[in-house]
Every structure is written in structure tokens, then in C-alpha cells.
Amino acid sequence: MAETVIETHQLTKEFVRDAFHVVALKEVDITVVRGEFVALMGPSGSGKSTLLHLIAAMDRPTSGEILVLGQNLRSLNDRAIAKWRNAHIGFIFQSFNLIPVLSAIENVELPLKLTNLSKKERLEHATTALQLVGLGDRLHHLPRQLSGGQEQRVAIARAIVTDPDLVLADEPTGNLDAGSAQEVLTLLSRLNKEFAKTIVMVTHDPHAAHFATKARHLEKAELLPEGQVPADWK
């Protein structure tokens, strides 16, 4: 039996703002084991991002339990969570989210600044990560000097440079053309196969889901049982 990386019980998230009361996630039980590449799918507003944020400890659940890498996330304070996330999670956004004033290598170096590595080691690691994503010749380019696909690959390099146990991606191909999307998906698939990274990727795109080892569907804040797809799913 493979090691459990993510495990939730009755995980619920509600947003209360003024008169609004939204249940974004309702009593979700999900288990992800090491080495899986899970595609998280579902219509817009079904709670995909919310679930990913809870797994990354970027937000706190309203109720229910969540264990990631054996850590009960509800028991950590903000500072401890930040350190935990730095050490164990790589996060990839739809909109790349690079720091515009920093070059590719400086962007990738950022999460390493929180470690005890020397400057030289940090730059070595960052270079390796950029080479891995095929950008060894773009180290000193600023984000605005790169194409969208290249920016997303820098973001992937930044997400894996700390060698995290878990890579989370929220629609990583959402802003990319088909060619660049293909490159990014191939890359994620390689990270999963060659480097044994556990990956959870939110996507709308059935083609993208093919790169994953497994797909799970959310509908109206609820997680459908494994293998089940929404009624109107084409």
C-alpha cells in the first residue's frame, strides 16, 4: 500500500461575506497517494481551486480534517505553515505569477532564499531547475522578455526547485496556446514519471486530464465518487 500524501475527512469550506453565504466545498473525502498525478476537474465554481488552496494550506477549512504529508494543517500557526509550505509544496498558478523585476533565475531562486543554502548553491539549484524545464539559455531574461509558455516553465522551475513532495497546479495551461500547453503538460508528466512527484492539477481540459494518472470530479462543491463523472460531462 503506497504512502498517503493527502487525506481529507468531511472537508468543508464556507465563505461568509455580508449577506452571502457560499458553500464552496462540502464534506469532501479525498485520498491521494505518493506518485499519483491527479487531474481535478469540474465546472466553474465547483470548488476546485478552493480544494487546492486548502491542500496547500493557503486557506483554512471551515470544518473537517485535512492531513497533508502526515501533517494536520489545522494545528499549525501562520509562520509554521509558511515554512511547511516552503519545504513541501510547489504551487503553479494559471497566471504564472512571476515577480516582474526579477530575472528567470532570480525568480526560481526566491523560495531557496528561505533555506540555509549558500548563494552559490541556490544559483546552482535554480540553474538546474531551469535547465530541467528547458530554459537553460534564458536564465537572465526578465518575465516580460519571455513567452507565456516560457513564463509558465519558469514558474514550474520555481515550484520544483525546493524539491517538494507535492506539486499543486491550478489550471496551469489555462492561459497558454495549444503548443505551449502541450509542453507544460509533458513537463508535468515527466516530473511525475521520472522524478516521482505527486501532482494535483486542476483543469477544465479533458485533453490535459489525459496526462494525469487519475481524474477526480467536483460538482457543486461535492467530490464525486472515483470513476464517476458529472451527468452533463461530455
Partner: protein, 390 residues
């Protein structure tokens, strides 16, 4: 903290024009603060020289413009601890053309037989000293005045009186060097007395006495004794150290100390508001990046130190520039005509202590003005930060 510095630097350079404007506004404000601190230090903290520490000045209690009787001299001279007493008279008057501010150098009547005894720090060749003591119309001037007005020994200097209805036709007999670099002229008070004429009651009046104590420790006691002695006379006196006197002389309009403090406070407050506003603006613009950094694992504390660091960096650069600027201004003021009336100005400078204070003020301004935006940025939740389109 240090490993964030390259990042902080890049953030500073990101909006160059705004950073330059912020740095300039801090530099100008800190320049004003620096000059004020230097003024304050020169006037209120300047240590008296050993010779100065021995001197007191006795004048009418009401104001310097009210004379006191010359007969007080004997009574003061008898007080134990008093080494010498010299009559001292502010003359005023007009030299040549009123329109040239250089012509406003101060001139005083003094007593040549005591003059170089009470001012031992004034250096003058012996023959010139003798000439001052023996020539009734003789006058001595400081080197600074000689250089400023291009006076040479033997020159005639004519002063047309205003307070006194006389015209003094003085002959320059000596030039002395003195440490405060004041532009100043002294003439023989006996000449003024004679010029007033035998029947003029003002012959027996004097503006003030300069007292020289044997021992600096005796100065407060002597001041007290003098003033008590004349307490109930028609001409009560006020005796204070030369240093204190120079201050009251300069500050007779209003409370200079309070005035300096008020400007200081206003400038500090204004620059706090200006830089506080700029910093919260640039933090707001980058709130999304704060969210990114937090996602990468930057703790609230790290975010706090990055934002504070940027603001402190800008402020310190501004403060250092302001200090340089202030030191230039102090240099100009040191040489300007103001020093004639306030000797303290001659020592005006940005001392290391003032420089440190100046930079520390800048640092504080940086910290305070960014603390609120930094704190709220560090507290904003990741998702709120990331959602911001700022």
C-alpha cells in the same frame, strides 16, 4: 534580512521616478532637520572654551539697551573670585553705506588696559596691543573683519552714532586673531566718553560689564552675588555666563529653542505623511506579489522585513543626501554675516553626532511611515493578496 537585500534594491529601482522623488523629499526634509540640529547644537550644546568659561556679563535686568552706572565697577571688583572687570558698550552707529550688509559688523567700546586680559584667546602682536592702549582713537578688529572689509593697519574708520549723538573717527591700530571667526571691532570707550562731552550724563553710564573670574567654578556664585548686590538699586542687574549671554542676545525675539523645535516637529510630521503615503501606495500596488511570496513560503515576518527594509533603505539614502546638503548649507552660513551677531554660527557644522542623529531620524521616519502598510500587507491573507489586481 540581508539575503533579501538584492530584492529590496530591485524593488526600489522598480519605479525609479517615484523612488527618486521620495528620496529627494526625504533628503530636503532631512537637510532642514540637519541644519536645525546643527544650529541647536552650536547654540545650546557648544562647550565654552576655557577662557570663555571664566567670563560673565552683567547688564541691566530689563534689557541690554538700558545702561547701568559705571560706578558698579568698583563694587563688582571687590567680590571675591573676580579677577578683572571691563566696561563694555554696544555702539551701533553707521559705517559708510547702510545698503551693504557687510557694513553692519558689530562694534563695541572696550577698555584697552583690560581688553586682552579678559580675552586671553585673542592673539595680537605686542606693538599693536600697545598702540591700542595708548592711542585714544585707536581701534582693533578681528582678522575675519579685516579680510572681509580689506582693512589695513592705519586705515581710518568713521562711525556715525545713532544711539549716541557722536561721530567716532577711529584709526585701525591692531588686528587680532580669535577662534570664533567673528567679524568685530573694538574701540576705546574713553574716546566715546570724551566725545559725549563733560556735561552729558551718559558719560557715567555703560551698557554692560565683562567680568573675568579667577576660577570657572566660581562663575555661578559671582553672578549671584553681583545681582543680589544691586537688587534694590534703581539699576538692578542680570549677570550670566558669556555663553548664556550670547544666546539671550541672539534670542531676544521670542523663544528660539521652542521655535527650532516647532519647525523640527512640523518638518518631521510632514515628511512622515508624505513618505507614509508613497509607501502605502507602492505596497498596495504590489500586494499581489506579497501573495506570491507567501505562497512560496515567505513568513509574515519576512514580508514585514522586506517592506520595512525597502522603506528604510530609501530613507537612509535620503537622509545621507540630506546630511551632505545640510553640511554644505552650514558651511555657507558659517561664513555669512549672521555670525557677526551670533558667534555660535561660526561653529555651525554637521558634527558626527548630528550626522548620526540625522540618519537615525531618517531611519525612524522610514520605519514609522512603512510600519502600517507593511504590517497590513503581512497580515493580508494569501488568497486576498493574490486576488488583488492592484
Amino acid at each position: 534580512m540581508f539575503r533579501y537585500f538584492p530584492f529590496i534594491l530591485k524593488n526600489t529601482l522598480r519605479n525609479r521616478r517615484r523612488s527618486i522623488l521620495t528620496i529627494s523629499s526625504i533628503a530636503v526634509s532631512l537637510c532642514i532637520l540637519g541644519v536645525l540640529m546643527a544650529l541647536y547644537q552650536a547654540m545650546f550644546f557648544g562647550e565654552p572654551t576655557p577662557a570663555q568659561a571664566l567670563r560673565l556679563i552683567t547688564r541691566h535686568r530689563v534689557s541690554l539697551t538700558q545702561p547701568i552706572p559705571i560706578s558698579y565697577r568698583e563694587k563688582i571688583q571687590r567680590i571675591p573670585g573676580v579677577r578683572g572687570v571691563m566696561a563694555w558698550q554696544w555702539f551701533g552707529g553707521v559705517y559708510k553705506d547702510r545698503r551693504d550688509p557687510n557694513n553692519f559688523f558689530p562694534r563695541f567700546g572696550a577698555e584697552p588696559e583690560f581688553f586682552f586680559q579678559v580675552y586671553p584667546e585673542f592673539q595680537i602682536p605686542d606693538d599693536e596691543k600697545q598702540a591700542f592702549q595708548h592711542e585714544r582713537t585707536g581701534a582693533v578688529i578681528s582678522r575675519t573683519l579685516a579680510d572681509q572689509m580689506h582693512f589695513k593697519l592705519g586705515d581710518r574708520i568713521t562711525l556715525v552714532g545713532d544711539i549716541f549723538p557722536v561721530t567716532l573717527d577711529l584709526k585701525l591700530v591692531g588686528i587680532f586673531d580669535e577662534p570664533s571667526h567673528a567679524a568685530i571691532l573694538y574701540f576705546n570707550r574713553a574716546y566715546l566718553r570724551d566725545a559725549l562731552g563733560a556735561n552729558n550724563p551718559r558719560q557715567n553710564e555703560v551698557g554692560a560689564f565683562l567680568i573675568q573670574a579667577v576660577n570657572a567654578d566660581d562663575v555661578p556664585r559671582i553672578a549671584d552675588t553681583v545681582d543680589r548686590q544691586f537688587d534694590n538699586s534703581p539699576f538692578p542687574t542680570r549677570t550670566e555666563s558669556e555663553k548664556a549671554f550670547q544666546l539671550s542676545f541672539a534670542a531676544f525675539v521670542g523663544n528660539l529653542k521652542l521655535f527650532i523645535m516647532a519647525i523640527f516637529g512640523a518638518v518631521t510630521f510632514t515628511v512622515l505623511l508624505v513618505s507614509g503615503n508613497t509607501i502605502s501606495m507602492s505596497v498596495r500596488e504590489r500586494i499581489r506579489e506579497v501573495g506570491i511570496l507567501k505562497t512560496l513560503g515567505f513568513t509574515p515576518g519576512a514580508i514585514l522585513s522586506i517592506i520595512l527594509g525597502e522603506s528604510v533603505f530609501i530613507s537612509i539614502v535620503g537622509g545621507a543626501l540630506g546630511c551632505l546638503l545640510a553640511s554644505g548649507i552650514c558651511g555657507v552660513m558659517r561664513k555669512g554675516p549672521g555670525g557677526n551677531f551670533m558667534a555660535a554660527l561660526r561653529t555651525l557644522e554637521i558634527s558626527p553626532a548630528v550626522a548620526v542623529l540625522c540618519i537615525a531620524t531618517a531611519l525612524l521616519i522610514g520605519l514609522i511611515s512603512s510600519s502600517l502598510p507593511a504590517w497590513s500587507a503581512s497580515r493580508t491573507s494569501i488568497l486576498d493578496s493574490l486576488r488583488s489586481t492592484g
